[in-house]
């Protein structure tokens, strides 16, 4: 009877699962270190939100996972991929920031391993439900069963030692107000989270501003590394991601400033053509519409003066 039920359940579950499946291919980028590279696209029902980079480091005291992906199913697929590579259990899951593509696979990992900056956990608690509604709208069935799971462990800037790997953690604010950056000093691998995008336009919904972000990038660029894993886009081994970020953000800031000083409307700014030198940056036109919504009002207000009462 029980067996019958199980077979029936398996048969019923099959079609849906077979239709939507993440094919995650971890790529070894350093000793003990794997990266799972996502597309540089926007969320869609085709890509299931596999548009983000995740990573894991197999230490001799357990596996350190960096970000869990956009859904329960992605988290499960990531956990399965880790089990194929090592028998070590996952002991640490470091969530770089509260965005859904980085934290919605949390459910697939032991709750006691889920760690983040306390501000990140607070932001996920605040925005999780709204993010979830939006994710169901954007990727649909891929979200099935996904629930927001808050990190249980607090991370603080400073050293973190797990087995034979020594990490250094930093807390920045430029992307969301709470952005974890992780250096594995043992291999020289810098996991920049969404503080660094490469060949993919930055997203700005919770950014405190381009100036803050750029100032922090200058600090980040001083950290010595062998290889850098951005939150989105391919890994780099030199400073090209920083140079691209700097050029693009400088252009964006100047565009908003000059547009505000000319009295342009948000709609006029949104349809600005992206300069050809940024052709390699995916989704730039799309993100310009979003960033204009997030950031342009501040520039507009700054270009006006307070009008005294008569």
């Amino acid at each position: 009877m029980t067996r019958w039920c199980l077979i029936l359940l398996a048969v019923m579950a099959l079609p849906a699962q077979a239709a939507l499946r993440y094919h995650l291919e971890p790529k070894q980028i350093a000793p003990d270190t794997w990266m799972v590279e996502g597309k540089t696209e926007n969320f869609s029902k085709e890509n299931g939100g596999n548009i983000v980079n995740t990573a894991f480091i197999v230490t001799d005291a357990g596996v350190v996972v960096i970000d869990t992906g956009p859904s329960l199913q992605y988290g499960d697929a990531l956990h399965d991929a880790i089990r194929k590579i090592t028998d070590q259990p996952v002991t640490h899951v470091l969530i770089t920031h509260h965005h859904p593509d980085h934290a919605f696979g949390n459910q697939a990992f032991p709750e006691r391993s889920l760690s983040a900056l306390p501000e990140t956990t607070a932001l996920l608690e605040r925005d999780g439900e709204a993010f979830s509604d939006n994710m169901y709208r954007m990727i649909g069935d891929w979200m099935r069963g996904t629930q927001v799971v808050l990190p249980t462990q607090e991370l603080a800037p400073g050293p973190l030692i797990v087995g034979n790997h020594t990490f250094q953690l930093w807390g920045f604010t430029g992307h969301t107000g709470a952005d974890l950056v992780i250096l594995d000093k043992t291999t020289g691998t810098l996991f920049a989270g969404d503080m660094v995008f490469y060949n993919r336009a930055i997203t700005t919904p919770q950014s405190p501003g381009l100036n803050v972000w750029q100032q922090e990038l200058d600090l980040l660029a001083e950290i010595p590394f062998e290889r850098l894993v951005p939150g989105h886009g391919p890994m780099v081994t030199d400073d090209r991601a920083f140079r691209q970020m700097h050029a693009y953000m400088t252009w964006l800031d100047a565009l908003f400033k000059s547009s505000a000083n000319r009295g342009l409307t948000a709609n006029e700014v949104m349809r600005t053509p992206i300069p050809g030198r940024f052709d390699s940056i995916a989704e730039a036109s799309y993100e310009l519409i979003r960033s204009t919504t997030h950031l342009y009002p501040r520039y507009e207000q700054a270009a006006l003066r307070m009008l005294p009462e008569e």
Binding site: D133, G263, A266, I289, T293, Q301, L304, L307, P308, E309
Partner: protein
Amino acid sequence: MLRHALLLAGALASTGLAAYPKDPYGSPMWDYNLERYLGEKAEVVLDDRVNLEVPPFAEDSSQVPLTVDLSGFDTPVQKVITWVDLNPIPHLFTYVPQTRVTVVSLNFRVQQATTVRAAVQDESGVWHVGSAHVDAAGGGCTAPSQASSDPNWEEHFGQIRGGAFSPANQSRLKVYVRHPMDSGMVGNIPAFHIETLEIRDTAGGQDEPLLKMTLSESAAENPMFVFELPDAPPQYEVWMRDNNGNQFQRQVGEAL
């Protein structure tokens, strides 16, 4: 006599409901809102010169920029009406210009993906309609204003920032008002929004306002008004009144 009646009937039929052109966007609200805002007998034509701009999607459903650009509309305008087809209260704003107005821009709230419309009435009474579509996750109309959850909102209430600009030799005016613009559609928060705005000419001594505007509940919190009045002197007075009787009046100076 009979012939007269027939002619009259014919005239009625040709300007009646059946005479609306087909909606290029196929909205179920097309006929209903045309009749509601322009009248059953309104003569309506689709017109590309009525350039209505909205982003393809609403990144923030409580702040969606809408721009009516009439720089290509070369005949005098009596009246302009804008609405958001699928909002609970579709009407956004209506204005009556006494001078050429080439651009009007204002943010609106959007409840769901919808078509938006701008209808421009020419001197002969014909309505020229421009349309656009905005995709949206929605909920902008039923989301509370930020001010309604901010205990210190009164500190900034009624603050007005402004400026005059000259992009491409046009005379452009921007006015930003701190006002909750509560729609009355959210929980127990009563409607509290700016209903009327006038731009007056302080240099020319003209009696009639250069522009008279009325606003409805779809208008977004803390409105940023943009007006382009290419033929008017760059010295204005802006006057507003909300539904609680608060009046706001400011001078906006020379073009920068």
